[in-house]
């Protein structure tokens, strides 16, 4: 696999892990173990039971909830964390440190859930399903960013492209009463804006951040104007059909997994398909190699006969189509109507997910899931009545972003020519 060069570079830095990092990580694991005991276990009733729902009321086969004795579970989780911490301190997990870090953090989060649910119930299937659908616009945004940036063009206009896609899909969908036509027009809108961005940043070599910002402002103004003057005044223009949930036969009947993964709308399934296609296309095809070459070292690519401009245009426009598709999610896949600035910054979070995911499609998806989970968790906590002010709960995804961007997972690999216009001599 062509990406091995990448991941080898990536891992080498970890094999040569400094003793400081080893100790800090070990101490961190122990700290989490301590936190589970100190904050959670101490404040729980001995006899409390945490009950996790394993099916929503829509499921054909209703499963009994999964019931755990809160206190004992917390002790077990704390001990597991502590054991991991001890091993890390004494000999270290070397290149598996990151994997173990993920496991320990997951244990901590699970401990938190067990504690929060003490004496109450929480629907796990619902939580994971929300996580997945919250991840959709973020992941698609990340894929759009990956397409552009792998070819060396920074695209911060994803938000604006999404917003325009959302508006156009609602408008066209309402006019034609056909969701597919709306979806197609959203994709074309994204392509059009991306082409504008391409002309600015590839042909005229403007600062790509400025071009992106202009497109964002333009999209906000135009969509708000059309929305206020037409779509809100004539409700018939703002009532598109939506893509409802589809249950995949047989697979949907698998307990738990079926409800989480196989009963979803078009956009969720499309996201999985796009991730797989893009992952393969970028790292295993000639086209992908060319895109990456152009993004890393356009001059070398040019010398070898690759048309740098054409490659960049293609990638940017494909990225724009992806963003337009993501925009259609908000109207055709979610609310069934357009409202001003309804994308609410998801495009920018998509960019963060792209960086977080190290410019790799599957990584972007993992990041999208993390954001989705933090978001879903925040709302469940509010329902469970954890007395943390709502403002702090809403900060969760952003705190997660900052922790991650601050280098917990190590340095990312930015495409070398990212954001630099190519000057043909």
């Amino acid at each position: 696999m062509a990406s091995t060069t990448n991941s080898q570079m990536f891992h080498k830095t970890f094999v040569r892990e400094s003793p400081v990092r080893q100790r800090v990580m070990g101490a961190f694991f122990l700290l989490l173990a301590l936190a589970i005991w100190f904050f959670f276990a101490r404040s729980v009733d001995g006899g409390a039971i945490s009950s996790f729902g394993l099916s929503t009321f829509q499921a054909k086969t209703q499963l009994d909830p999964w019931e755990l004795p809160t206190l004992n579970t917390l002790y077990v989780l704390a001990i597991v964390c502590a054991v991991f911490g001890g091993i890390q301190l004494s000999r270290g997990f070397k290149k598996y440190t990151n994997a173990v870090l993920a496991v320990v953090v997951a244990i901590f989060v699970f401990g938190f859930l067990v504690w929060a649910t003490a004496g109450k119930s929480l629907n796990l299937v619902g939580l994971f399903n929300t996580t997945l659908s919250k991840a959709v616009p973020i992941t698609l945004g990340a894929l759009s960013g990956i397409l552009c940036e792998r070819s060396g063009v920074v695209n911060i206009a994803i938000e604006g492209m999404m917003l325009s896609g959302a508006m156009v899909s609602a408008l066209v969908g309402s006019l034609t009463q056909n969701a597919w036509v709306g979806l197609l027009c959203a994709v074309l809108t994204g392509a059009l804006l991306a082409w504008v961005h391409g002309v600015f940043s590839i042909k005229y070599k403007t600062n790509q951040i400025i071009s992106g910002t202009v497109i964002n402002i333009f999209a906000t103004g135009l969509t708000s104007y059309i929305s206020a003057k037409f779509m809100q005044v004539y409700p018939a223009l703002n009532n598109p059909p939506t893509f409802g949930a589809i249950a995949i036969p047989l697979l949907a009947d698998i307990p738990v997994i079926g409800e989480i993964f196989f009963v979803n709308n078009l956009f969720v399934f499309a996201m999985f398909i796009f991730i797989i296609i893009l992952q393969i296309a970028l790292f295993q095809t000639r086209w992908g190699l060319r895109v990456r070459a152009v993004g890393e070292h356009p001059k070398a690519a040019d010398t070898l006969g690759i048309d740098v401009f054409k490659t960049r245009y293609t990638s940017v426009i494909l990225g724009g189509m992806m963003a337009g598709f993501a925009g259609a999610y908000f109207t055709l896949g979610s609310a069934g109507r357009f409202d001003e600035v309804m994308t609410a910054g998801r495009g920018f979070i998509g960019l963060a997910a792209m960086i977080f995911g190290n410019w790799i499609p599957t990584g972007g998806f993992a990041a999208g899931l993390l954001f989705g989970f933090a978001d879903g968790l925040a709302s469940r906590m509010a329902i469970l009545g954890i007395t943390i002010p709502s403002q702090f709960l809403l900060m969760l995804p952003y705190i997660a972003t900052m922790i991650v961007l601050a280098g917990v997972i190590g340095k990312g690999h930015v495409p070398a020519a990212d954001g630099i216009p190519y000057e043909k001599e």
């Binding site: 929503t56 929480l122 619902g126 908000f330 609310a335 509010a382 329902i383 002010p389």
Partner: protein, 348 residues
């Protein structure tokens, strides 16, 4: 080549500015010219005149006044918070008899303008000055009373024993709905010995479920699904258009109801009528109309107007068929009478 580029960039920037400024112009409402009329002028909040929420409802009050009292109505939309002062001053220069400012956020700008122009009459929606200003009428609403009724009805109609609510941003005009709703459920429990739970708002601790914005309809959808997953079958979203996302989720899944806020959603969001349980009405149109009427009749006084169940400033519309039983309807009449008589407390 660069000339061309500058041209394109310039056009784009001008276009985006022009577009965002387009809604700025004062739009005189269509009406037949006549002798000097009383002018009622509305300054909107940033949501715009067609926000299907408080700006639109207040404007409906002005329109009613135009129809029934023969006044002249005008409005200016504020695109951003810095427009408030500018728009108010534009109307003062225009010689408006009554300036209606809409929204909690216009409180400071209105106060400053009222103090600088003591002869100009103002009415402000959702703001109560303490102490009151002699030339400003604050139009406030005891929405908790109407939400209390909705909560009581929801508790009586739920099949799962759980009802849910969430808000946009945790500010008093939002949480007052949630307080009333939760207390209504509690009152039903006390009366009937039931144990209906409210998900999403804890009156005692004043904590609960919020989207953090009034824009993302997708958030509304997700929170709606979350609440349904946790078993709620009647949901009241207090978050403007975000609630329409919740309505979409409820409509898709079925087996649940939605409670509208501010306006009657069976009219303003009629595509969701089949899942709308009831709406908590905040009759800003009535309040603005009353203020205009006082100006026309020369009885305008500054101070405070409080919309309550008693004066029809807040309320819930007639239930559509299939929502609640006749027994519950009768009980609601009694509860309403008790609230008006002051026998039931609707705030924490």
């Amino acid at each position: 080549m660069f000339k061309k580029l500058y041209l394109v960039v310039a056009v784009l920037i001008i276009a985006s500015m022009a577009l965002s400024a387009c809604q700025q112009a004062a739009t005189p409402a269509p009406q037949e010219p006549a002798a000097p009329k009383i002018k009622v002028c509305q300054v909107t909040d940033t949501g715009g005149i067609d926000d299907k929420s408080f700006n639109a409802t207040a404007w409906k009050g002005v329109e009613d006044a135009m129809k029934e009292l023969g006044v002249e109505g005008k409005y200016l939309e504020s695109q951003q918070q810095t427009d408030y002062e500018k728009n108010i001053n534009a109307f003062i220069e225009d010689g408006c008899d009554l300036i209606v400012t809409v929204g909690f956020l216009l409180g400071d700008a209105t106060k400053a303008a009222a103090e600088a122009n003591p002869n100009q009459k103002f009415a402000i929606v959702d703001f109560a000055y303490d102490p009151t200003i002699p030339n400003v009428l604050g139009l406030t609403f005891a929405t908790d009373q109407a939400a209390f009724l909705a909560g009581y009805a929801a508790a009586g109609a739920t099949k799962t024993g759980k009802v849910g609510t969430f808000g946009g941003i945790q500010i008093p005009p939002v949480t007052v709905f949630m307080d009333g709703f939760a207390l209504g459920v509690k009152y039903y429990n006390e009366k009937h010995g039931t144990n209906v739970e409210v998900l999403g708002w804890d009156v005692a601790n004043q904590t609960g479920l919020f989207t953090g914005n009034f824009e993302s309809t997708d958030d509304g959808r997700q929170l709606g699904q979350t609440l349904m997953d946790e078993g709620a079958d009647i949901i009241m979203p207090v978050a403007g258009p975000v609630g329409l996302g919740t309505a979409a989720a409820v409509q898709e899944r079925g087996n649940a109801w939605i409670i509208g806020v501010d306006t009657d959603w069976t009219i303003s969001a009629s595509q969701f009528t089949d899942v709308i349980f009831t709406s908590v009405l905040k009759r800003m149109d009535n309040a603005v109309f009353e203020a205009a009427k006082e100006v026309v009749e020369g009885t305008f006084k500054g101070g405070l107007y409080v919309g309550t169940l008693a004066n029809d400033g807040v309320g819930i519309p007639e239930f559509l068929a299939g929502r609640i039983s006749d027994d519950l309807k009768a009980e609601l009449e009694q509860v309403k009478a008790d609230i008006i008589a002051g026998k039931i407390k609707t705030t924490p």
